[in-house]
């Protein structure tokens, strides 16, 4: 009993009976010996603590006793714990705190990459910028053409990156590939990217040296990430000079569904604005989009994104060889579905699994013939990422890509030609991000593929690193090897062709402060194993003996500070590229490329007018073309290209926006290139003619209305 009583007394009055007070004090500094102000120093599991003052000094008085744990914690630094024995004696404890890894976010691998996102700091472009660039008409490829490393190829409308053909750039949605990402079009009639930027919350445009996660692209990866969340029920209606659209988003507790329907028809517009092309039926397009998202458990998310479209156009094109007019009818049926799951397991492993499927069918009816090109592609992907350690994260994945292409040709005179190709491509990739010090980050990766068509194994290493310098500047470098299967066009009759190859070397310097960005990047790209044959008539000589190179320097400057309410960026690219591929007799610059390419994009927000006014100017020096009447190959150059475009977004009401834009307002004469007849005429002269746009200017007017409960949202982000 006595014993128990003693315990009771001891417990009940223990804290007061040993009244001795301990004072802990000290100084907190960072690795540069600078005081840390406002840090939290406390005894773990208790309220007892103190805050450092302006010189990093703290004093903590406590009546606690015995062994305790002293914790030092401050935003942006690694938390430290130290055992401490409290016994009434004053204790001096200084500490030096280490910058936590999270704070080293400023050092990122920038070689070859332009990233646009809402979330990340210190990035180059935001999704909004993509959709409010004059002259781009809200086309992803159009906006990206204002960044260095790209080339305006007006007759195509597609992305050509650093001396690479359009098919060397690949689009991904949530990491899963998209095929036939451009609307189908006829030769010399530009097409648009099928995917509207407003469905995406982030864009990464890589001009080279990209991650081992991406393959089957020799030049460039365009990675679009769908929105993670739709937040409010809303209905959007758009009335445009080229058509109309309607979208609705329904949001539930843990899921959301967005649907959109769009109809465009260029006939009324072309009736008003004179066209140089002889349209029989102006492009007409029906489009549907669906985006579904749901939470799975606490840490998982399932997304489904689907789109389908059908389009039709008929054009009379005069044939340079026969001198007759060809009536060409192009019908396209397209659908794409992408579904993926991303989740967190045990707080450490992020798992990703998904598939995408593209189906594209082009029916081309030149005069009375029929040509059908049907392509289906399946992409399966599973990937895990793990933050093994604060300074090491691993990514591993496996992919399976299946491609099927069926090509049918019904000429009037001879028998039907059918060719079907099926290719399987299993892939494995692994990549590690290693933070060597708080200023040095490296990424090492490898991608292994096996192509069933070519019966070829390829192993592609990738390496990049970033070194932080002082005050927002950093240098970054990347190397990578890239493989891509030859185009179906060649594989159809020559299945034994090997993959084409490219090697990238990139060095980049970047300086970013609050509202300004400066980048300079130099690159060298080596092409090998390109498809090549001896002259167009001689396809039996086809081989992988083609080669080439591209090298250049690119500058980028963006300034949101110097002029109030003004945001502008300037890009310049110098490109030196030559190839000996396809039917080229020697190394020569392909017809798509010009040496100098520059652009300025200017946006001015005038809040009193509730308007944003913008303009852009694009310049490209002459492109190469081949005149068979003159000696040499691809020696000639077109006149330089100029395009000055303007746009205006006016917030009429808080939920109504009026958008107007005009491209090439000054009507600069634009010549993309020249084409020549394949045979000389009686005088031994090849007849030639320039390739030009269908009209000098393109005008656009649209009214966009958003209906929500509060009606304060608008479609500003969609334009």
């Amino acid at each position: 009993m006595n014993y128990l009583f003693t315990i009771y007394i001891l417990l009940a009055f223990g804290s007061t009976s040993l009244l001795a007070q301990t004072t802990i004090s000290g100084e907190l500094t960072d690795s540069q010996n600078q005081p840390i102000v406002g840090a939290n120093i406390f005894l773990k599991g208790t309220y007892e603590g103190a805050t450092t003052d302006t010189v990093g000094f703290y004093r903590l008085n406590t009546r606690l006793n015995g062994p305790q744990t002293l914790v030092f914690s401050y935003l942006g630094y690694e938390t430290q714990e130290q055992p401490i024995e409290l016994n009434g004696q004053s204790i001096l404890r200084n500490a030096t705190m280490k910058v936590s890894i999270n704070r080293i976010e400023e050092v990122v691998i920038t070689a070859g990459a332009f990233e646009a996102s809402d979330e990340k700091k210190s990035i180059i472009l935001k999704p909004m910028d993509i959709v409010t660039t004059a002259g781009a008409t809200a086309d992803i490829a159009g906006t990206i053409n204002t960044l260095p490393g790209t080339q305006v190829v007006g007759e195509s409308g597609r992305l050509f990156v650093r001396g690479g053909n359009d098919f060397e750039s690949r689009t991904y949605i949530d990491g899963l590939q998209v095929n036939n990402e451009y609307q189908s079009s006829l030769p010399n009639v530009p097409s648009r990217h099928r995917f509207s930027p407003f469905m995406f919350s982030g864009t990464i445009f890589s001009t080279g040296g990209y991650s081992a996660e991406y393959g089957q692209a020799l030049s460039s990866a365009l990675v679009l990430n769908t929105k993670n969340e739709f937040l409010q029920n809303r209905t959007d209606i758009g009335l445009m000079s080229v058509g109309l659209d309607a979208a609705h988003t329904q949001v539930w507790e843990a899921s959301s569904l967005a649907v959109k329907a769009e109809y465009t028809n260029l006939a009324p517009y072309q009736g008003l604005v004179k066209q140089d092309f002889d349209w029989v039926k102006a492009p007409e397009n029906f489009l549907g989009v669906l985006a579904y998202r749901t939470n799975v458990g606490k840490h998982g998310r399932l997304k489904v994104y689907g789109t389908g479209s059908t389009s039709d156009l008929i054009l009379n094109q005069s044939n340079i060889n026969t001198g007759e007019v060809d009536r060409i009818d192009l019908k396209n049926r397209y659908w794409y579905i992408n579904s993926n799951y991303k989740g967190l397991i045990k707080g450490q492993w992020t798992v990703f699994g998904g598939f995408s499927f593209t189906s594209n069918k082009d029916i081309i009816l030149p005069n009375t013939q029929q040509l059908t090109d049907k392509q289906s592609s399946l992409h399966l992907k599973a990937m895990v990422t793990n933050e093994v350690h604060q300074s090491l994260s691993l990514k591993m994945g496996t992919e399976y890509i299946y491609n099927q292409n069926q090509f049918r040709f019904n000429p009037e005179t001879s028998e039907e030609y059918i060719s079907t190709l099926r290719g399987h491509l299993p892939t494995f990739f692994a990549e590690a991000d290693i933070i060597i010090s708080d200023k040095l980050l490296t990424r090492v990766g490898v991608r292994a593929e096996h192509s069933s068509l070519q019966e070829q194994y390829t192993i592609a290493p990738r390496l990049s690193l970033a070194l932080g310098l002082n005050n927002g500047s950093q240098v970054s470098a990347a190397y990578g090897q890239f493989y891509q299967s030859p185009q179906f066009e060649w594989l159809r009759d020559h299945k034994n062709l090997n993959s084409e190859e490219a090697q990238h070397y990139i060095v980049n310097y970047q300086y970013v402060n609050k509202h300004q960005t400066f980048r300079i990047e130099a690159f060298h790209k080596e092409y090998s194993s390109l498809v090549k044959f001896q002259g167009p008539e001689n396809q039996q000589t086809i081989s992988n003996q083609g080669e080439g190179y591209a090298r250049g320097v690119e500058l980028f400057w963006r300034d949101q500070k110097t002029i109030k309410n003004v945001d502008y960026w300037i890009s310049y690219s110098f490109l030196d590229t030559e190839r000996d591929y396809l039917d080229f007799p020697q190394l020569a610059t392909p017809k798509f490329f010009s040496k100098h390419h520059a652009s300025i994009v200017y946006k001015h927000f005038i809040s009193s007018l509730r308007s944003q006014i913008g303009w852009s100017y694009l310049f490209a020096s002459g492109r190469a073309y081949h005149n068979p009447n003159l000696p040499g190959f691809n020696r000639q150059r077109t006149p330089a290209y100029h395009n000055f475009s303007v746009n205006l977004s006016f917030l009429w009401k808080s939920n109504v926006i009026v958008h107007a834009s005009a491209s090439n307002v000054f009507g600069f004469d634009q010549t993309y290139g020249y084409e020549y007849s394949s045979q000389p005429d009686d005088q031994g002269i090849y007849t030639g003619r320039p390739i030009k746009p269908g009209a000098d200017r393109f005008l656009f007017l649209g009214i966009f209305i958003t209906l929500t409960k509060e009606n304060i949202l608008n479609q500003l982000r969609n334009l």
Binding site: Y8, G45, E106, K126, L231, K653, S654, L716
Partner: protein, 211 residues
């Protein structure tokens, strides 16, 4: 045996009372200090204390709630966008912790909307479209869960005011909401002395813009 158990029970209840009292006392002290806080250093001190209480009291959501609130306020003392974002990351961390403990409630959602709103102010042109939607959604949910919550009404009024000023449209609707918020502030009678009660002073200041 009976004596021992009686002793033990009384001992534990004593300890329990002591710790609860301790918790309430520490919280009340800190809340009083919070009302007087003006400088960054003062706010930091208070934030640190809330964060210590939160660490020690695993079942309580209010210390984390207030730690989040302090960090949101401290953003106003930060200069650069990166620093502001970092401070907001910390606020979000505390807020997530509170939501983990308590589950979503009107006060926590209002604070979530507040975090989004301040994120927006870091880069209005770039973040406006997405963050205005996110914050309005959080405020909407907060108001749906408790239509009497004056902070949710006041913060959404502020958001509406900011949007109106940014686009140069009328602020009448925002002012109407603000009036409603002021009424609700006067009606609020928290039974719990630790429950969120801030905002009246800020809401009154905001009425300047409506004059």
């Amino acid at each position: 045996m009976k004596i021992i158990s009686t002793l033990l029970v009384s001992l534990f209840s004593l300890l329990a009372i002591a710790t609860t009292n301790n918790y309430e006392k520490a919280m009340l002290e800190n809340l009083t200090a919070m009302q007087k806080a003006r400088t960054n250093a003062e706010w930091q001190e208070i934030a640190n204390k809330f964060s210590r209480i939160a660490d020690a009291e695993h079942g309580q959501w209010l210390p984390s709630y207030y730690a989040a609130y302090c960090n949101i306020i401290m953003t106003t003392f930060q200069e650069g966008p990166d620093q502001k974002d970092q401070q907001l990351d910390l606020a979000q961390g505390h807020l997530d912790k509170a939501i983990d403990i308590r589950g979503e409630n009107s006060e926590l959602l209002a604070l979530q909307g507040f975090v989004h709103m301040i994120r927006l102010t870091v880069d209005p042109a770039g973040r406006g479209p997405s963050y205005s939607e996110m914050s309005m959604q959080a405020f909407g949910k907060a108001r749906a869960m408790n239509p009497e919550n004056p902070r949710a009404i006041y913060l959404s009024a502020q958001m509406q005011m900011g949007t109106a000023q940014f686009f140069g449209t009328g602020i009448e609707e925002a002012c109407k909401q603000l009036q409603l918020a002021l009424e609700k502030f006067q009606e609020q009678k928290p039974q719990d002395p630790l429950a969120p009660a801030w905002g009246y002073r800020q809401a009154q200041q905001m009425t300047q813009a409506c004059k």
